[in-house]
């Protein structure tokens, strides 16, 4: 390569920043657009910070809304990196090994989004130090929320450490030492499952909310995550393949597709099982589901959303299941976007909001997100996309440089 290979820690940081921030004009415009959306979100948040959560659409009855919905969904996206890590590192699948770094970068972006969504949802963000173990008061193990704090931050640390170590070695033209990072890979596989199960337990453990108090919630979280997460990763890989010179073997799409189809079918099966339970014998615990799918007491704000979500879900699953065998980027993109959007609506909005409706005292109200809430949410999404971009770009550069280095070494040795 024409770049002189840097060395050491400072060189690594300097080169990574350089590779992350330089690029074509359209790349710079793309970064600026993201920054503009983040700026708007920050402005919206300054309003919320000043006036309180009253600027959102939430109320004493629907006390969690868009933020927590997105948090729940993106925990799934983060957990889904394990679907690449598992075959790449454990089954030594060479194809997955090529792209595993992309999965890890997506996980980091998703986790940062999760932590931001939680933070903007707090009524007293300045008092957040109360939850730091040691200086605050950490209600562990009683409160599932404290478990979530631990598993999310732990998973973030794992997903930063492992790729960082591998990339740093590759940057310095070294092969990473197995025992130094493989134990953490094993750990991160269990950890990925735990972040999603713990997040499900957050809701599942509340008898006050019959809609959530359902043992299938955790497993269904996993199934939908393992469909939606790889769908996101597939979208990212298609964008990389179409816009850069980084080599991606089309076989990877076939393998990802297989994972997505199986998970999506299991997810639909569980969805059907839940719907059957709610409606075959209608009890007063089914009122939330009634509200979600058909409306209740003349309130039906979520009805169009959930049916759109289910249609997209089925449509995306069918596209993946019966698609052409060769790599067709546009076709795959449509399939991935429909499945991703379908699960996003269903597992975000469609899961969190109806849990609160009707209220424990039987009141039915509609929730809709306010403009400020939407701007903050978009700002966080843009932050996540920015982070994924700024991580992937130097990472791919280092990987292809290292591949060239290995190739040059071969004939000489």
């Amino acid at each position: 390569m024409n770049n002189s290979p840097g060395k050491g820690c400072t060189g690594f940081i300097a080169d990574c920043s350089k590779w992350a921030l330089t690029g074509s004009t359209s790349y710079k415009v793309y970064l600026l657009v993201l920054l503009a959306i983040i700026g708007t979100g920050a402005w919206a948040y300054s309003n919320q910070f000043r006036d309180g959560l009253i600027v959102t659409g939430m109320s004493d009855i629907v006390s969690w809304g868009l933020y927590i919905s997105n948090f729940t969904f993106f925990v799934g996206v983060a957990a889904a990196a394990v679907m690449l890590i598992l075959p790449a590192y454990i089954f030594k699948d060479a194809d997955f090994h090529e792209v595993v770094i992309i999965g890890e970068c997506v996980a980091v972006g998703a986790l940062v989004m999760c932590l931001l969504f939680i933070s903007v949802d707090m009524g007293g963000p300045l008092r957040l130090w109360h939850i730091i173990p040691g200086i605050g008061l950490f209600n562990w193990p009683s409160s599932i929320l404290t478990w979530d704090v631990l598993v999310l931050n732990g998973y973030l640390a794992l997903n930063v450490f492992v790729p960082l170590y591998i990339l740093y070695c590759n940057y310095n033209n070294r092969k990473p030492v197995g025992w130094k990072y493989q134990p953490f890979i094993f750990l991160s596989i269990f950890w990925a499952v735990s972040i999603h199960m713990v997040t499900a337990f957050l809701y599942q453990g509340l008898p006050a909310r019959p809609f959530w108090n359902n043992p299938l919630l955790g497993p269904r979280f996993l199934a939908s995550a393992f469909a939606a997460g790889p769908a996101v990763i597939m979208m990212v890989i298609i964008i990389i393949k179409e816009n850069t010179t980084f080599h991606i073997d089309p076989i990877i799409f076939k393998k990802l597709k297989r994972i997505i189809v199986i998970s999506a079918i299991i997810n639909l099966l569980m969805l059907f099982s839940e719907v059957f339970k709610e409606f075959y014998t209608f009890t007063h615990h089914s009122l939330s589901a009634q509200y979600l799918f058909f409306g209740l007491d003349g309130r039906d704000a979520l009805v169009p959303w959930i049916w759109t979500a289910i249609s997209l879900n089925i449509f995306g699953t069918l596209l993946f299941a019966f698609g052409p065998r060769t790599y067709k980027p546009k076709y795959l993109m449509v399939a991935a976007i429909s499945l991703f959007t379908g699960i996003w609506i269903e597992k975000g909005f469609g899961l969190i909001v109806p849990g609160f409706i009707p209220s424990p005292l039987g009141e039915v109200i509609d929730y809709s997100a306010s403009g400020i809430e939407i701007l903050i949410t978009l700002g966080i999404l843009a932050t996540g996309i920015l982070i994924v971009t700024l991580l992937i770009k130097p990472a791919l550069k280092i990987l292809s440089r290292y591949k060239d280095f290995e190739r040059q070494k071969l004939p000489s040795s």
């Binding site: 939680i118 009524g123 939850i131 008061l137 009683s142 424990p360």
Partner: protein, 323 residues
Amino acid sequence: MNSRKDETDPMNKEEIVEGKSSRRSFLKGLSIAAAASSAALVTGGCSLESLPKSREELGLKWETYFQENYRLMTQEEKDQTVERLTRQAKLEDNLDIHISSQPPREKVLYGYAFNISRCEGFMDCVEACVQENNLDRNAKTQYIRIFEMEPGKLDPSTGDGKYFHKVPVDDKFYMGVQCFHCENAPCIKACPVKATWREPDGIVVVDYNWCIGCRYCMAACPYYGRRFNWGEPSVPEEEITRQQHYLGNRKRMKGVMEKCTFCIQRTRQGKLPACVEACPTGSRVFGNLLDPDSEIRFVLKNKKVFRFKEELGTDPKFWYFID
């Protein structure tokens, strides 16, 4: 039963207090270190007109920001805290109030009973509660809700909680709900920072200065017993109840949770809660469950009583009864 009790036992202080001194010295260091930087932090959250006017006011603000969880404080520290808050009320709002840190009375466990055959739905209790507890007039916060019920139904969710007509209506009965002060309270279990707990006299309280506003307790409560301050709460100055308690009706901030405290500022002084005193029909009974001669014990012994959502195992200290 025993294991359940351990989980929620408010007297389980050893566990809470563990590591207290190191934490406190750490916090002290932290507060000094952060004093400079938090000047910007504290004022940053305020609009221009509420900028601290004096060095003293700023100092008190920092101390309040770094104050520890109320339950970890010694009685002496509790006294200092309420003294500081009283001073802050004077400096910031020019209010002369009295904030108490009175501990629970010995051998007292509060219980509440509500007579559904007697209540006629006048809502004097709601009004008295709003006044006594300095509830936010902007958001029209109410701790108590009264439901107009059809005969034959005993679940408030089947009733009408928003009636606006002359009461009582023939063939209807009335049912009041508020925080039920559960012995096995799901809200306490949910709180990630132990900002809400059950006092030894059975009152479930919130430390407003410790609550981070995550609202997990609200999602966990099966009775809709908690209220959140979505905006900055406000009470007209002339209507403020000045006899206050740290865990009760003192000023709340935006972004924190609050709830019925059985009027802790009154009941710990041996008075009745405002709702009980205000009820014109005598439908509300309040007293010490540990006192065999109390009215509440008479009701529990001699009347047909039931509790709301008994199947959830929350063990509320609030009973409904029928004459």
